[in-house]
Amino acid sequence: MAKSSLRVSLVAGLGVMVLAACAPPSDNGGSDSGSGGGSDAKTATSAADLGGMDGLVKAAKKEGELNVIALPPDWANYANIIKGFSAKYGIKVNSAQPDAASQDEINAAKSLKGTTRAPDVFDLGQSVALANTSMFADYKVSTWDDVPADFKDENGAWINDYGGYMSIGYDSSKVPDVTGVDDLLGKEFKGKVALNGDPTTAGAAFSGVMMASLASGGSADDIAPGVDFFGKLKKAGNFLPVDPTSATIESGQTPVVIDWDYLNAAESKKLDSWKVVVPDNAVIAGYYYQAVNADAPHPAAARLWEEYLYSDEGQNGWLGGGARPVRADAMVKAGTIDKAAYDALPPVNGQAVTPTVAQTEKATTYLTANWAKTVG
């Protein structure tokens, strides 16, 4: 081996050089990032910095494009929100990797940094958002004051956008009515109960286990009963380790799905027999986080997108997808909320629990050590 090791190291050195030569070129003026709005928009912390909404719209139109990432069309009505934004401002929206996870968004922003393809804005789960605040640009939308203090960063690095409650969606033509988590252990549910993702990977699944924990005598501080519940579900032969999607729900492969209520509610529109229930006294709330990429290739369009999302129109857009927009209370007061959609949200009984960062970390540690053993 000794003879060839020198050759290998030479070869490796060459390889590194080749790779360096393949690195993406830093982008200069690929899409008119030079003059005018671009540079001001990069540092703008509110629309006022660009001469009000008119100035922002002008700068964004000049850029002409917006890169979004990890926004599934059937998630919280994003398909229509993107359409609405495009139509209103004549800006082309490039939607990359619609099914990506939060961490993929951050990875993409890092690996595409400096190119015109980097994501302009993020829509992230709690853990990923709070771990990467250094990558966000401070920006406060004009409706900033409507949002309660707990739902935003004081400097404007991030702001909660929409949220919901953990729910059980089920196909009433295939299984009996579900009222609570324990019902799922019944023998009518053999091989029928799916969780949206793996709780050590996906935020939605994590909250699903949290919900099961609350229903089984645990708390946000103690996720163990939730893991035990899924262990029992597995033993009963009811737990189906399939990743549920619209396709699996409509084709009947996943007759019961534990997921956010807005995602389950979206399925009811496609499948009449699909019902959604938020279990009593096991109400886990979760909000997603919205932020602007500090290195956005289209800084003005990114900020205009935020303004659109937090306008009445954008908020009602999310509501149309069954999600609870963060300005809901203020909009109810002002009478601007889409009443029909708001009243159609699944009813909730009991105090909503939003796990803190510390509680989430504690639960994560437990899950990492025990989940695979319990369901694997």
Partner: protein, 283 residues
């Protein structure tokens, strides 16, 4: 060969060597370096994490899946290969089987997983047919989406692969040897036990090891079928890279990949030793 022509021969190889560098050597080195780093500093934390309960459990499942599917593929594949090898080279049966094997050995990943889901899933064609005609529920509690299902689906591409890699060895067995053995009074059992068996054994084991490595590194098929518990190493690597719950495990992913490189390297070393041993018979 004079020095100049040797140089041009190397030159002709250059594109291939560059390709190897960029797509094999460089990534492997990145993985090895990354496995011993955290935030750019040297550390053994991630390599130590390989010996935690969860990772060992997943390694075990990975090895079981690869070993069982390789064994099933090797045994059934060897029988099929024997049937093929005993036919004349021009026979239709032989040509069809080798052609089909060539295609199916590469038919893995997402299409294969979906084909099985559409056939044996909860509302699959066969499941529905058996349910409505015989009242039999073959779906049970979703075994297709666990280890048994993975073994079944993996075997689907392992058997044809075995046919492709094992056929040359069987073709190398000359009919004259059999005739000679029979002339010397050997029974069929003795011929297989004393002549053909020992000659084919290294090739058989070598092919089985290749199948093992093939299953060990397969990712897409399992990614579609299994979404809970990350039961095999490639899925655990995906989780370490993309998890939105547990953050900052990129270097653990490197360490896991490094572990896989080590396992495959061991297997391939054994494979090449066995091939060296059998090539003597196939001249």
């Amino acid at each position: 060969m004079n020095r100049f022509s040797r140089f041009t021969a190397w030159l002709a190889l250059l594109p291939f060597l560059l390709y190897l560098l960029v797509f094999l050597v460089a990534p492997t080195l990145t993985v090895m370096v990354g496995a011993f780093q955290e935030n750019g500093r040297f550390t053994l934390v991630n390599v130590q994490a390989l010996f935690s309960g969860t990772v060992l459990h997943v390694l075990r499942t990975s090895l079981i899946l690869s070993a069982v599917s390789a064994l099933v593929g090797a045994v059934l594949g060897a029988f099929l290969t024997y049937l093929v090898a005993t036919r004349p080279a021009t026979s239709a049966f032989r040509r069809v089987v080798t052609a089909v094997s060539g295609v199916l050995a590469q038919f893995g990943g997402v299409p294969l997983a979906f084909a099985f889901i559409a056939t044996l899933g909860f509302s699959g064609v066969v499941t529905e047919a058996l349910r409505s005609t015989l009242g039999v529920d073959i779906f049970g509690s979703g075994w297709l989406f666990g280890l048994p299902g993975l073994i079944l689906v993996y075997s689907y591409f392992q058997i044809p692969l075995m046919v492709i890699v094992f056929l040359p060895a069987l073709d190398g067995i000359r009919p004259q040897w059999r005739e000679a053995a029979v002339n010397l009074g050997a029974s069929t059992w003795q011929y297989w036990r004393r002549v053909a068996g020992p000659m084919l054994l290294p090739a058989f084991l070598g092919s089985a090891l290749l199948l093992f490595a093939n299953a060990f590194a397969a990712y897409a098929t399992a990614a579609v079928l299994v979404s809970q518990g990350q039961p095999i190493l490639p899925l655990l690597i995906r989780s370490a890279l993309t998890s939105e719950v547990v953050l900052g495990r990129q270097n653990l992913a490197f360490a896991l990949a490094f572990e896989m490189v080590v396992v495959v390297a061991v297997v391939m070393t054994l494979y090449s030793l066995l091939v060296r041993r059998t090539s003597r018979w196939l001249r």
